[in-house]
Symmetry: C2
Subunit: 342 residues, 2 copies
């Protein structure tokens, strides 16, 4: 199993993350990546390759042009204001307000965000592009015949919607990879999102499409970030009706409950008959994750990797969240090993 | 001219305000009030009175029940989470997401906010209620026959919409006062908002009503907070069509330009024939205001106070913004003196 990765992720390391009313050391920080790489080395899964240059045409099928322009220029506009911190929004287009992009960077940040903890820094665009390129390159490997590949993306992507960033995400790496499969011959792609948090961005992007099925297992939106999407009655619309499947689960959910939902999701995916599967791999379902509330044990990750393998489809793993620093590497690699050993 | 005021405003003093990507000493802080009181004393305008208890029935005509319940309980819910900072939102219901109030306080904050700089503290609800009571009491004085009164409100109110807080505002004091005039015999009330920032909350509250005319002079939303409301083509809807009047003006606007807009606004108000006028009095149009971009001089405040007096209607002044600490007192009192001496 090849892992596509790049040191460019280090370009994105905000000074702070808004959490509990303070700016704290970001939960989503470069160290996460190091723990995963260390664990890959520990099991000698070291077929590391660098990403090819980003193919922007695919990205443009996933994100709006105005949003991409914003992401590419936000830091420079922010820097012109001589603010002291990294770029964070202050005002948003709430209910009954105008959904119109303002000229000033303060307004643009609010217009394009869906969460406020996520700062844009001088290196964010570079890192986000590298992360998307990693997903594309890993997808190309699978499209070219590999059974599987691991896109070690950072920053993650599944909260990034058509024209929204936030939740540590800027470009939706998994969605870009799914589009890449379609663009290289696949008729149908399934995205299976096992991150603790609902993949609101991926849902948004494919909500009216039947060529990508989206299935997500996650904390109930009443209680868990991103709070405003991920309900079970969100089933898709227009051509996409029936191709969006959410499994929201309550605080304290353990593996027996979680794996039942996975079983259902796998059955739906199997029935769909996708030519490829993209797994949005977040390991923040772990019992000790600092910002989540599921109760999976490390061995459970191995078990569900094996279950995904039984779908017997070309499968791309795209890294998303997971913030329990010590175990983020072990749990991630457990999923991959569970898959490979099945 | 009586001034209604209360020391309870000191209960609201967040540890930080999100500005330029950092948590900084809030621009909207208790000291602002002290500068105004000092200046009132300096000119011996010291007919100070305390507010009567808040009449919640009027407030309930302005704000949604769920929003009031949220404001009253937000701090206690936040405190249960053992976060270290004051209550700030992290995730919001952006485009195409669910407009549904979640159970968790993190989600509730995002659901009910329109701006993120504004923290809720242990004393915020007490201060917000006292501020609204000040507006009510001052309105009662004018309803009872006084020519004018000054509601020295803090926190301010004009950004607070039917079910949204933010921009330092929680309860919309000016809107509550306008409703108070209607409830005590007025048929029509005009709200004239001269704060630098658009009074998006007041506009929102009365947008479909003809019994309150709203006229606002403010920085263009393309460039100025609150960015997502305040365009000139927002003229009201349904019964309110034609009763909402916005005068957005560009960076660098000085008094000749600003006072032309005021002249137009006064003509519209005069034609409307209100039984009372509520002035949302922000003095952040001042040339040295740290977060605004108009260029009024201190004498200009005296001049426009006089212009408002010429409308010759019962007039209530409700304090809103103004952050140039040294001059916030002088400029505020200049408006009142200009009014009284005309």
């Amino acid at each position: 199993m090849k892992t596509v990765l790049s040191e460019d992720h280090r370009q994105h390391f905000p000074k702070g993350e808004l959490y509990g009313g303070e700016l704290v050391l970001p939960f989503e920080r470069p160290e996460r990546w190091d723990f995963i790489v260390d664990q890959l080395k520990a099991i000698e899964m070291t077929d590391f390759i660098a990403p090819d240059p980003l193919q922007m045409e695919t990205v443009q099928k996933i994100h709006d042009a105005a949003f991409l322009r914003f992401l590419a220029t936000a830091w420079d506009q922010w820097a012109e204001e001589n603010y002291k911190g990294d770029a964070l929004p202050t005002v948003i287009p709430a209910r009954r307000m105008q959904q119109k992009e303002p000229d000033h960077i303060d307004g643009k940040l609010g217009y394009f965000c869906m969460a406020i903890e996520t700062a844009i820094t001088s290196g964010t665009w570079t890192a986000a592009c590298a992360s998307a390129a990693i997903a594309q390159t890993a997808q190309s490997l699978v499209s070219a015949g590999e059974r599987t590949a691991f896109a070690l993306c950072r920053p993650p992507g599944h909260h990034a919607a058509r024209d929204l960033y936030g939740g540590y995400c800027f470009l939706n790496n998994a969605a870009i990879a799914a589009q890449g499969f379609l663009d290289t011959g696949a008729d149908r792609v399934a995205v299976l999102d096992v991150d603790f948090h609902h993949g609101n961005g991926t849902q948004d992007i494919f909500y009216d499409r039947s060529d990508v099925m989206f299935a997500s297992l996650h904390g109930e939106p009443e209680h868990a970030f991103p709070h405003f999407l991920g309900y079970s009655d969100e089933t898709g619309k227009a051509d996409g009706e029936g191709y969006n499947i959410n499994y929201p689960m309550p605080p304290g959910t353990d593996y027996p409950v979680w794996s039942s939902a996975l079983e259902e999701a796998c059955a739906r995916i199997d029935g769909y008959g996708p030519d490829a599967i993209v797994v949005s791999l977040g390991v923040d379902t772990f019992k000790n994750d600092p910002i989540s509330f599921f109760k999976l044990e490390s061995d459970d990750f191995t078990a569900y990797g094996a279950r995904i393998a039984k779908l017997n489809r070309p499968t791309l793993f795209v890294m998303e969240g997971g913030y329990s620093i010590n175990e983020v590497g072990i749990n991630t690699v457990n999923v991959l090993e569970g898959f490979l050993n099945t």
